[in-house]
């Protein structure tokens, strides 16, 4: 079993972060954000190497599951896009529940918190949380329904949302370090792995990646944000993303981190081959079940 570090921190009020990034050499300082950064950096020079045949083996395994699904749906069916919610079975995550006008409050909050996390990583500060998040989301055409939904809230609901958001932002600002440009931080990195000749597509989005992919070596660190909901699901979703990254670049991330903005805790863990193999087994089972072939 891999050791997992769990930290919980008291909430703080939102404030502007200093523009000077925390230097890697300060990672062991008592600064709160430095704690998280230190956990990401700890023993990071020891980059594990993975079996170069691992991605090919995983892909072949997943292709078996995808072929079972395609056999049921037919060759001519449109591509099926599968993400962590469907594959890992998060409750209440059906498409109908996410339609415009019927947006679950958790989805609204999650979208806002993610937008603010992106802003925090990118420019290091948040001014007015709700205004900033809406400004950011309005630049993504697929989020306009959400923006209209929030703009249509009555004053009481909007105030409640602002209060919720302030709590999350307080945790985010206390935990999220400033990443040096040389660490190559990038947010919302989309992964899409096609199986069965493009008929089944496994997709997901890394909230934050740091480090450059290196041939034959695990060299990327992935940070994922959860704004509430089942912790186990969030962790499984991160393992699922690690599986997709293995298929994309040949190695999984060497380290995963999960930030929970609802309570201000985080966990870091080193990824092992058994993690991605276990996730692949789960996805294959799920694909087979979606195809109606219960074993």
């Amino acid at each position: 079993m891999v050791p997992v570090a769990l930290q919980q921190r008291p909430a703080r009020q939102p404030k502007t972060r200093p523009s000077t990034p925390i230097e890697p050499t300060n990672a062991g300082s008592p600064l709160e954000r430095g704690d998280f950064l230190a956990r990401l950096r700890d023993r990071s020079a020891l980059r594990p190497s993975f079996d170069p045949n691992l991605p090919g083996g995983l892909r072949a395994w997943l292709e078996d599951g995808a072929s079972a699904l395609v056999a049921t749906r037919g060759d001519d069916a449109p591509p099926m896009f599968l993400g962590p919610r469907l594959l890992l079975g998060q409750p209440g995550a059906t498409a109908s529940a996410r339609q415009a006008g019927n947006l679950p409050s958790q989805l609204v909050l999650s979208s806002l918190v993610h937008a603010l996390f992106t802003q925090l990583v990118t420019i290091g500060s948040i001014d007015d949380p709700l205004t900033d998040a809406l400004d950011a989301l309005s630049l993504h055409p697929n989020k306009l329904d959400l923006v209209h939904h929030i703009n249509g809230l009555d004053r009481r609901a909007r105030s409640a949302l602002e209060a919720d958001l302030a709590c999350h932002v307080a945790h985010l600002t206390s935990l999220t370090p400033a990443f040096l440009p040389g660490w190559l931080p990038r947010t919302d990195d989309r992964v899409a792995i096609a199986l069965a000749g493009g008929r089944v597509i496994l997709g997901g989005v890394f909230d934050l990646l740091v480090g450059a992919p290196m041939p034959g070596q695990a060299s990327v660190c992935a940070v994922q944000l959860t704004s509430g909901g089942p912790w186990a699901f969030a962790r499984a979703a991160l393992h699922y993303l690690a599986l997709l990254e293995t298929l994309r670049n040949g190695s999984p991330p060497y380290r995963l981190a999960l930030l929970d903005s609802s309570v201000g805790r985080y966990v870091t863990e080193d990824i092992q081959e058994e993690h991605v193999r276990a996730m692949a087994a789960h996805v294959v089972t799920r694909l087979t079940n979606l195809g109606g072939h219960h074993e």
Binding site: T118, Q119, D135, A136, D188, I193, P215
Partner: protein, 288 residues
Amino acid sequence: MNDPISLSPLTAALVNPLRVDHCTVTAAAIARCSSELSSLVAHRSGGGPFRLTDYVIRNALGSSEAAPPQVRFSWSASTARRSIGLAALRSLSEGTTHSPVDGVAFVIDQAIGDVAQGLRPVSSMDEWLANLSAAGRAAVQADAITWCTRLWTSVQFGAFATPPTIGRDHWWDSPQSSLLALRSRAEVRSTATGAGGKPVSVHLVVLNGPRRATIQSELSVVALVEALRTSDPLLPGRIVGWWPDSGRFVTLDVVQATLSAGVATVARTLTSIGASQASNSAATEAAA
């Protein structure tokens, strides 16, 4: 000399020499393609001119149910990321900046500064950026950083024999007909060694969306335009299409059949445009 073992798969696909038995396209074949293209638009109903971009071709080759609804272009985080990301990549390649984060910030600051000072004609994107709030700008910046980083970390830019040209679109205007122009979009262009040791041009095209059956046709038009451009003394040797989402790429070594496929793709696109125009005209008449 580059060690081929240390190259990323995508870099190797770009810089590796072409096969020794690779048959480069001939001048006569290129002239024939040019002639065939002009004849495609000579007697075509629907007028023209036809300025075919990769976007137009992709939509024309797709099935009708897959075609996106016609929406008016507007700037957004996703439509701006490539332009900003390429400019950042150029600054990185030239050594002006040292990371995608710095490169993107440099490009955005420069755009906003130009608008504020009115120093030179500014683009619509620059004006749009200048009018965004700090939070909106950060969202654009974040998308561009991700776009730029994925390309910067996947291609080893120092591995090319000649410094790569980044983000320059090429247009070919038919010399026989003013009605036809074709665009070749490629994010990175450089050279590799062709058959007989002669340099040939290589082109990296960043792709979006799912892998599709028509991708070879789409890339063949890039090869066709590169062959037709008389201003470039190098013949096209290889086109590589790459999906950053999946890390997969397709490689197209350019031979005569590639150019023929390019001409056929243009013909199919023009037919599709004609059919679409006829359908729209019929709908308008019916409504009247």
